[in-house]
C-alpha cells in the first residue's frame, strides 16, 4: 500500500474515532459530572422567587421597568418595549446588547473605539441619565449631595464587555444607595450593610476587583421592604 493511501485511511479512521471520543464522550462526561457534582453551577445558578425564575445570579439584568402608556398598555417603540430605570432598584452597568439591555441570548461588546466620537457621546448620554436618575424629583437635588460628573465611577457609564455584567463597583453602589434608601424609606446604614453583604471579594485575595452583585442586592431589598411601596 502506498504511504498516502495508508495515511488517508488512518486519517479518516482517526477523525471518526476522535470525533466520538472528544466530541461526544468528553463533553457529555464533563456535563454529566457537573450535573451530578455541581448542579446549581452547571445550570447557571438560577434564582427562583415564589416558584418563578427571576434570573441567574451571575448574569446581569436590566432593572428598568416598562413605561405604561396612556392606554394602560406598555409603550412600544420600533417593536421594542420602552423602559426607564426603576429608582427603587440598583441599576446594572450599561450594556450594548441588541434587543434591549442585558440580552443574555446574544452577548456582545459595544466595540466602541478609544478615540471615537461615538464613545464620547455614549458616555455623555450615560452620564446624563445617571445624574438624572440620582436626582430627587421632588427637591431637584442629588440624593448624594456630593455627586458631580467627576465623581461618577467609570463602570457606571462605560458599557461592560459581555453586556451582561452582573456586578457594579462599590463606589457606584454607594452613590445609588442614597437614592434607594430615600425611595424605600430605609436608613443608609441598612442599605450599605446589604451592599457589603453582596460584594464579592478578590479571587485568592488579589485577583480582579471587588464587585457588588446587583440582582442579589435588589432581591434582598425587596425582601426587606416588599416589592411594591
Amino acid at each position: 500500500m502506498k504511504p498516502w493511501v495508508r495515511d488517508t485511511i488512518t486519517s479518516i479512521l482517526a477523525v471518526i474515532v476522535f470525533a466520538i471520543l472528544l466530541g461526544l464522550v468528553y463533553p457529555l462526561a464533563i456535563t454529566g459530572i457537573s450535573q451530578v457534582a455541581f448542579p446549581g453551577d452547571a445550570n447557571g445558578q438560577q434564582i427562583h422567587l415564589d416558584g418563578k425564575l427571576v434570573g441567574s445570579k451571575i448574569i446581569g439584568q436590566s432593572f428598568a421597568a416598562p413605561v405604561i402608556g396612556k392606554n394602560g398598555k406598555p409603550e412600544e417603540k420600533e417593536g421594542e418595549l420602552v423602559t426607564e430605570p426603576d429608582p427603587r432598584y440598583f441599576q446594572s452597568r450599561p450594556s450594548a446588547t441588541e434587543g434591549g439591555a442585558d440580552n443574555a441570548a446574544a452577548s456582545t461588546f459595544s466595540n466602541h473605539g478609544p478615540n471615537s466620537v461615538k464613545t464620547k457621546e455614549a458616555d455623555e448620554e450615560n452620564i446624563k441619565a445617571y445624574l438624572e436618575l440620582n436626582k430627587n424629583p421632588a427637591t431637584k437635588t442629588e440624593y448624594d449631595p456630593g455627586l458631580t460628573v467627576a465623581k461618577i465611577p467609570v463602570d457606571a457609564v462605560n458599557s461592560s464587555a459581555s453586556g451582561l455584567d452582573p456586578e457594579i463597583s462599590k463606589a457606584n453602589a454607594w452613590i445609588q444607595a442614597y437614592r434607594v434608601a430615600t425611595v424605600r424609606g430605609l436608613s443608609r446604614a441598612t442599605v450599605d450593610g446589604l451592599i457589603a453583604k453582596y460584594t464579592s471579594g478578590r479571587g485568592l485575595g488579589f485577583s480582579g476587583e471587588e464587585g457588588v452583585n446587583v440582582l442579589e442586592l435588589n432581591l434582598a431589598l425587596d425582601r426587606l421592604t416588599g416589592a411594591t411601596n
Partner: protein
C-alpha cells in the same frame, strides 16, 4: 493602577513558572517514550487506538513522511468539520442538540470557520449562542480544539527530536505523537481544568435557553449549553474560540475573579512547559532557561505597557468629563468593554496572555482598548507568536528565531555558526528565514488587499461621525489590519467590529456572509499555518542528519545573558522593521494624538 493589580501580575508569573517546570519534565518523558505517571492508565487505550487506526507506531518517519501524515490528517479534519457545520439543521441532528433549530451558516462563513478551527486560530465571524447548535459546538468545534492543538505540539516535538537526533533521518512518528499528546498531555489537563471551572460556576448542560421574568416586569432570555468541557480545551490548547460571542468576558465562561486567574494560567501552562521540555530533551537546560527568560522579558514588557495604558483611560472618556483615577470603591481606568470583576489589571493581563500565545480568547473588548493599550496586542502579534506562542507553534517559531540569532551571532564573531553541536549551513538558515517571513507576508498582503478594495472595506464597523472621514480613520484601519494579522498568526482575537457575517436574525434566517473577508481570511489562516509548519519540519529533517561535534573554545554560547539580548534584538528587529509603518497608521497615532474621530 493598584497594588493588587501589580501583585496579580507578579503572582501570575511565579505560579506559572512553578507549575510549568514539572509539566515540562513530564512532557519530555512523554515525547522520548519513557514511562510516566499515567502510563498504567493510558498504555492500554494507547495500544488499542494504534490497532483501530492501523498505525505502526514503531516505524519512524522522515520529515517528508511526517509532513504528509500531518497534512492529510488536517485535511480530513477540515472536511469533517465543514460537513458538520453545513448540516447543522439536517434531519439526523437530534432536536435536543439543536434546541433552537438553528440553520447552518452560509458556505463562505463556514469555509472561514472551518479553516479557522483547523488551524488553531478560532477566528470567529459567527456568534456562538445565535449561530451554533450544541452538536456543532461539541462534535464540530470542540474536536478541532483538541486536534489543532495536538498538531501544533507534535510539530514542536518533532523539531526538537530533529535537533537532538544523532545523524538519522527519523523525526518520530506523527500518529504516535498525536495519540500520545491527546492521551497523556491534553486529556488529563482538560478533564481536571473542566471540573475546576465547572465547580466555580461555568455552566455545563444541554437545556433549552432559559426565559426569565425579572422583578421589574421584563423578560430575559439566557443562552445555555455544554460550556465547561469546551472552555477547558479552548484555553489549554491556545484555541480561544468562545462558546459565546463575548468569549471569556461572558459570565458563564468566566464567572469569577478566581476563574479569570485560572483561565490565564491554563492558557500559558503548555507553551511555558514546552520551553522547559526543550531544555530537558536537548540536555541543555540552561538554554531552555535562556529562551524562557527571553520570552518572559518580552511578555512582562507587554503587560506593563498595557496595564499602565488601560489604567490611564481613553481620550473619549476624558472628553466626556469622566475622571479615570482610582477612587475608594472603584479601580477607575478605561472600563469601556471591560467587566467589573476582572478590573483593569485582570483584563490587561488576560488579553496580553491570549495575544502573546495564539489563544486569542478575550475577557474584554480589544477594540475598545486605548491606543497604546491596543498597540500591545498588535505588537504581540507582530512578534509572530514567539512570546510563548501557541501550543507547539510558539516553541517551533522561536527555535527558528534562535537559529537566525545563532547565525547572525556567528557572522558577528566570524565563526561558523554552531548550535548544540551542529553546524548551521545555508539550507537551514534559508528554511528558517522563510519560515519566519511567511506569517508577516501573509498578514501584510491580505491587509493591503482588504484596505485597498471596496469589498474589503465592507467589513469595517467603525465609521466616523463626520461623513467626510467615513471609514478613513485610524480605528477602521486598525480593525482591518488586526483582522488579517490575527488570522495570519492563528491567534483569533479581534477588533471585533470587523465582520464577515451579516446575521439579521438569530438562527441564521436571512443571514449571508461577506465572501471577500471570509475567503481571504480563510486562506490567510491556512497558508500562514501550514507553510511555517513545513519549514519547521524541513529544518528538523535537515538537522536530524547532521553529526554532532563537541563544542570548542570558539563556539558561541547560546545559554547566557548575551544570547538572550541577541535573541530579543533579532525578534524585535524583524517584527519592528516589518510592521512598524503599519502600526503607526493605526493604534499608535490614536494613542499619541488623543484626537477624536
Amino acid at each position: 493602577m493598584t497594588f493588587a493589580g501589580w501583585f496579580t501580575i507578579v503572582a501570575f508569573v511565579v505560579v506559572l513558572t512553578v507549575l510549568a517546570f514539572p509539566l515540562g519534565s513530564y512532557m519530555a518523558r512523554v515525547y522520548t517514550g519513557e514511562r510516566v505517571i499515567f502510563s498504567p492508565i493510558f498504555a492500554g487505550p494507547e495500544r488499542f487506538l494504534y490497532r483501530i487506526l492501523r498505525v505502526d507506531e514503531q516505524r519512524g518517519q522522515d520529515w517528508k513522511a511526517y509532513a504528509k501524515s500531518l497534512i492529510i490528517f488536517s485535511l480530513a479534519g477540515w472536511i469533517f468539520l465543514y460537513i458538520v457545520l453545513r448540516t447543522q439543521d439536517a434531519f439526523f441532528v437530534p432536536h435536543g442538540l439543536n434546541p433552537l433549530a438553528y440553520h447552518s451558516a452560509p458556505a463562505d462563513v463556514v469555509f472561514n470557520v472551518t479553516s479557522s478551527f483547523m488551524t488553531n486560530t478560532n477566528w470567529q465571524y459567527y456568534s456562538g449562542e445565535t449561530t451554533m447548535s450544541y452538536l456543532s459546538q461539541m462534535i464540530g468545534l470542540t474536536v478541532q480544539n483538541w486536534l489543532s492543538a495536538g498538531v501544533g505540539i507534535v510539530v514542536a516535538a518533532a523539531l526538537v527530536r530533529g535537533i537532538i537526533s544523532r545523524s538519522g533521518k527519523s523525526i518520530g512518528n506523527f500518529w504516535q505523537d498525536m495519540v500520545r499528546t491527546i492521551l497523556y498531555v491534553l486529556a488529563p489537563l482538560s478533564v481536571l481544568s473542566a471540573i475546576v471551572l465547572a465547580s466555580q460556576g461555568v455552566i455545563a448542560n444541554l437545556s433549552n435557553y432559559l426565559t426569565v421574568h425579572t422583578i421589574t416586569g421584563l423578560e430575559q432570555k439566557i443562552a445555555m449549553g455544554p460550556v465547561a468541557g469546551q472552555l477547558a480545551i479552548k484555553m489549554l490548547g491556545t484555541n480561544g474560540g468562545g462558546f459565546f460571542n463575548t468569549n471569556s468576558a461572558h459570565p458563564f465562561e468566566n464567572p469569577t475573579q478566581f476563574t479569570n486567574f485560572f483561565e490565564m494560567l491554563i492558557v500559558l501552562i503548555i507553551p511555558a512547559a514546552l520551553i522547559f521540555m526543550y531544555g530537558r530533551m536537548t540536555s541543555n537546560r540552561r538554554q531552555g532557561y535562556a529562551i524562557y527568560a527571553t520570552v518572559m522579558f518580552m511578555f512582562l514588557g507587554a503587560v506593563i505597557v498595557a496595564y499602565i495604558a488601560e489604567a490611564h483611560g481613553s481620550p473619549a472618556q476624558h472628553a466626556a468629563g469622566l475622571h479615570t483615577g482610582v477612587i475608594s470603591g472603584s479601580g477607575g481606568g478605561n472600563m469601556e468593554g471591560k467587566e467589573q470583576r476582572f478590573g483593569i489589571a485582570g483584563s490587561a493581563l488576560f488579553d496580553v496572555i491570549t495575544t502573546v500565545t495564539s489563544c486569542g480568547a478575550v475577557n474584554s473588548a480589544i477594540e475598545s482598548f486605548t491606543g497604546i493599550g491596543g498597540a500591545v496586542p498588535f505588537a504581540n502579534l507582530s512578534a509572530s507568536e514567539v512570546i510563548f506562542g501557541g501550543v507547539g507553534t510558539g516553541l517551533y517559531s522561536i527555535l527558528l528565531y534562535v537559529l537566525l540569532a545563532v547565525f547572525i551571532g556567528g557572522l558577528m564573531v566570524g565563526r561558523t555558526p554552531e548550535w548544540l553541536g551542529k553546524k548551521l549551513e545555508a539550507r537551514e538558515i534559508k528554511l528558517a528565514g522563510l519560515g519566519i517571513l511567511i506569517t508577516p507576508l501573509a498578514a501584510l498582503f491580505c491587509t493591503a488587499l482588504a484596505t485597498a478594495s471596496k469589498s474589503g472595506r465592507a467589513s469595517i464597523a467603525e465609521v466616523a461621525t463626520s461623513a467626510k472621514l467615513g471609514i478613513h480613520t485610524p480605528q477602521a484601519f486598525s480593525e482591518t489590519f488586526y483582522a488579517y494579522l490575527s488570522q495570519a498568526n492563528n491567534n483569533g482575537s479581534a477588533f471585533a467590529g470587523y465582520t464577515g457575517f451579516i446575521q439579521p436574525n438569530a438562527g441564521n434566517l436571512g443571514s449571508h456572509g461577506i465572501s471577500f473577508a471570509d475567503v481571504l481570511g480563510g486562506f490567510d489562516m491556512i497558508f500562514a499555518r501550514y507553510a511555517p509548519i513545513l519549514f519547521a519540519l524541513a529544518v528538523a529533517g535537515a538537522l536530524a542528519g547532521k553529526r554532532v561535534t563537541p563544542a570548542g573554545l570558539g563556539t558561541m554560547r547560546t545559554d547566557n545573558g548575551t544570547f538572550v539580548v541577541l535573541l530579543i534584538g533579532v525578534i524585535i528587529l524583524v517584527g519592528a522593521l516589518t510592521f512598524f509603518p503599519a502600526l503607526l497608521l493605526g493604534p499608535i497615532v490614536q494613542g499619541l494624538t488623543g484626537h477624536l474621530y
